[in-house]
């Protein structure tokens, strides 16, 4: 099922200067949430805006969304978009598992899980990996600032080796690369972006929403309060100056035609589960996101050389079975099955009892 909805036919003779509503009649406002309580300038707030835009422009029905998160500044942001949707700010590191349960209960909902690098790569690493292994359909966004924002700036496991702490000392360990792990765990949609790169982040998010399995979007998102100093490789300045997009990305919903007209060989098209498409315009590097080993190789290189590569890192054109199919689940959300279906008959019980007699 696609989370985005096809356009309603435009009302005949609609005024040309219509209010800014999307295809299902919602305004951008409908995709907003409570006022942010994050620091002014926090990268996470930019991501929140991009999520709102992606949802709005894609015409996602707010009543069809479940927002999940763990604990952290990043995890708080589920309160800052889509106040029309149910949200669950759970506990530190367990959101992937909580979201898995939620998906099992209601597979019709679009699950958006927002997490931090501490949440995902430290305490929640095991769950993150197993969620991907199970291929639980979900847009999983990592708001990656290399530190624990909410607890005041300790290094997280995604901090680059040699990146400096606000107190001056250096991180001694190699970073965990959530995207490399995602690819390793068989995730079929893996992207990296930057909170400041609106042009790229929005289509990547839209694409993620149309993918039928787990999609990972790792967004470098500067913590302006604790990790924005000289020497940090997750500062706004560093990210701005070093971002190297792999492609120029466009999104075409399943009900639209691809319009962009690029010279032969400069554009790739990726078809997503629900028929929507991503268009990838070639930039410097010649990059094929369907090549797993190429992606891993590039990420390894990026880590060693501290390149900040963004874009669609990996997409598997032959997507794997989602968890609902692995478990051969009925299409109706389990939560809504009536008692007549979920409680076997007295005759069945009698039959079972007979075996124990």
């Amino acid at each position: 099922m696609s989370a985005t909805e096809a356009p309603k036919p435009a009302p005949a003779g609609a005024p040309s200067k219509a209010p800014a509503t999307n295809r299902i009649g919602h305004t951008l406002q409908d995709y907003k949430g409570a006022a942010s309580t994050l620091c002014a300038g926090c990268g996470h707030d930019s991501i929140t805006s991009q999520i709102q835009r992606a949802l709005f422009e894609s015409g996602v029905n707010p009543y069809n969304v479940a927002k999940m998160s763990g604990i952290g500044c990043s995890s708080k942001t589920t309160a800052y978009f889509l106040s029309l949707s149910h949200g669950f700010n759970s506990v530190h590191g367990r959101a992937p598992a909580v979201a898995t349960g939620s998906y099992l209960a209601n597979r019709e909902l679009l699950h958006i899980c927002v997490s931090g690098d501490g949440d995902t790569a430290s305490i929640g690493l095991g769950h993150f990996m197993h969620m991907m292994r199970r291929n639980v359909p979900m847009v999983y966004i990592i708001e990656n600032n290399g530190v624990y924002g909410l607890t005041k700036g300790q290094f997280s496991a995604t901090a680059d080796k040699g990146s400096t702490h606000k107190k001056g000392f250096e991180n001694e360990m190699m970073p965990i690369d959530a995207c490399a792990l995602a690819i390793e765990m068989g995730c079929d949609y893996v992207a990296r972006s930057f909170s400041g790169d609106i042009k790229q982040l929005v289509p990547l998010l839209k694409g993620a929403m149309c993918h039928g399995g787990t999609s990972i979007v790792d967004v470098v998102s500067p913590c302006v309060t604790f990790n924005n100093h000289e020497g940090s490789t997750k500062s706004l300045k560093f990210a701005r100056e070093n971002e190297e997009p792999l492609q120029e990305i466009g999104f075409v919903p399943y009900y639209d035609e691809i319009k962009a007209d690029y010279p032969e060989g400069t554009m790739k098209t990726i078809e997503l589960t629900d028929g929507s498409k991503l268009t990838l315009k070639k930039l410097e590097r010649d990059y094929d996101p369907s090549d797993k080993m190429r992606a891993l190789d590039l990420l390894q290189k990026a880590r060693d050389e501290r390149l900040f590569l963004t874009g669609l890192l990996y997409h598997n054109p032959n997507s794997s079975k989602g968890i609902a199919d692995q478990l051969n689940m009925v299409d109706v959300p389990l939560a809504h099955l009536p008692e007549s279906v979920t409680v076997p008959s007295a005759a069945v019980l009698a039959e079972i009892m007979e075996e124990y007699k």
Partner: protein, 625 residues
Amino acid sequence: MSLQTDADSPTATATPLPSTAPIGNEADAIVNDVVIQVATSNGTGSQSANLVLMRTIFEMGVPVSGKNMFPSNIQGLPTWFTIRVNKDGWSARRRDADVFVAMNPESAAEDIAGMRPGSILILNEELQKFQNRDDIHVFVVPFNKLVIPVCPDGRLRRLVVNMMYVGVVAYLLHLDVEELKGAIARQFSKKPKAAELNSNAALAGYQWAAENLPKQYKFVVKRMDKTKGKVIIDGNSAAALGLMYGGITVFAWYPITPSSSLGEALIDYMARYRHDPETGKATYAIVQAEDELAAMAMVVGAGWDGARAATSTSGPGISLMAELTGLAYFTEIPAVIVDVQRVGPSTGLPTRTNQGDMLKAYLLSHGDCKHPLLIPGNVKECYEFGIEALNLAERLQTPIFLMTDLDMGMNLWMTDPFEAPTKPLDRGKVLTAEDLNRLGEFARYRDVDGDGIGYRTLPGTKHPNAAFFTQGAGHDDRAKRSEKPEDWQGNLDRLTHKFNHARTIMPKPVLNADEGATLAIIGFGTSDPAIEEARHILRTQHGVKSSYLRLRSLPASAEVIQYLKDNDKVYLVEQNRDAQVASILRMENPELGNRIVSVLHYCGLPLDAQSIVEQLEVHLGKRKS
């Protein structure tokens, strides 16, 4: 030393013949009251033999129960299976056996040393060297020789030899051979070849005994009619059936002894009975999680979304579920956790039984929180409370613990068959889009009905007022984040109120009282059969009449408090060191706390009546401690 001994070995040929004089006389025979214990090595397939023995007796209409005491490994260590045959239906452990079958060299010396004088030993010939008692009846059987003609395939002998002791026991206890054959046929109903082989083995054992052993009249099993319509089942299967009939839709688990067989039984039942007949698709999801934290997280996520969700685990898993249980408590999400208790702390004794998580589950997670416990006292209640747990979780919007234990979960109990539920599932207070239209307003955590329970909406509800933000952080009654002292305290007080409401709707205790009772007892769970038997002993042997309140849930209801008020002294029997349930009652009822006297049992073995009687005798001044 190995069981696989060459039949031609010198030991084997040196077997003395047993004496042929009959043992006991028919007139004085103890009828239908015998404990048979079999010591084998685990992984040798003796389980089938023991089940056949049980079944034979059951089919003769005589009440029977079976307990398996196995080591925490997979193969090769001593295992004891105990069958209690009792005309009155007593099913608790009895301390020592009347008939002991010694097949395991590892434990034989100790096994034999521990036998009660006057009891009967069926000894595998190979183990003769361990036999040094002259105060027991010893029947030496050359099992390993006898099995050769019966079972030409040498690799199968290790298994088949077990069925031979069944034959010997059957002969000695006067079991019905036809029932024995029937039981074997049933046990191997899907493998006719094995059925034949085992039947031959049992009959060969029987035959050999008839030809070589004296008649035995001390213990006799005679046909009666006390098992008609009954079933024999383990508590884990029963609880799994309960969950299925409770309309479970999401089950997330992580294997751990002794709860694993609950998950596995559920997998089997659901595969059979919970697929859409048309599409063949599953009306449920069962996930083996990566650990207990994830299992509980999945249950919480699913419960939030409106699924009937549960997990099952044992000790270490309970510890790991602590944080998420607190989350479910405070966000008020339905969740069911089945705790099949094993012996803790820590890894403890994974294959022994205990009631050592009672207080821990009740108080699980940091900060001020307490959780309702359902405490089935028999396998039938495992089934019924399995259903009830899912109902109560949705009704109370909170985690519900179903507290069983290894003795309940993994041992075999005779019971009346279970009945399909007659009342509809309780789905609790859920508002639909229509309700919201009607009501206009919705505050997730407001106590509208005075029972402390708010109304919830499910994700996906198509209404602009439906959404709320669930969080483990402090919130006001509209689920909005709040750090205000009055919001916090108000919310916590409502949760206390809800907990006190739980007292009024959870299963009430069951009171069994002798007329003119002078002794008051509280107990719960698998202590029940031992307590009833102890009361019988007290009544019949000491002339002490007693009343007995069986707790079936916590927090304690008014009836429990009243019982404490009505009795100056109440003996609270529990299977743990720290008097955990007594602690719960004491902390909540300080004015009654000193009426409780604890009777504790925590060595890992199932509770037996004698242990209770002895402790009570000390308290009653009839025995020195």
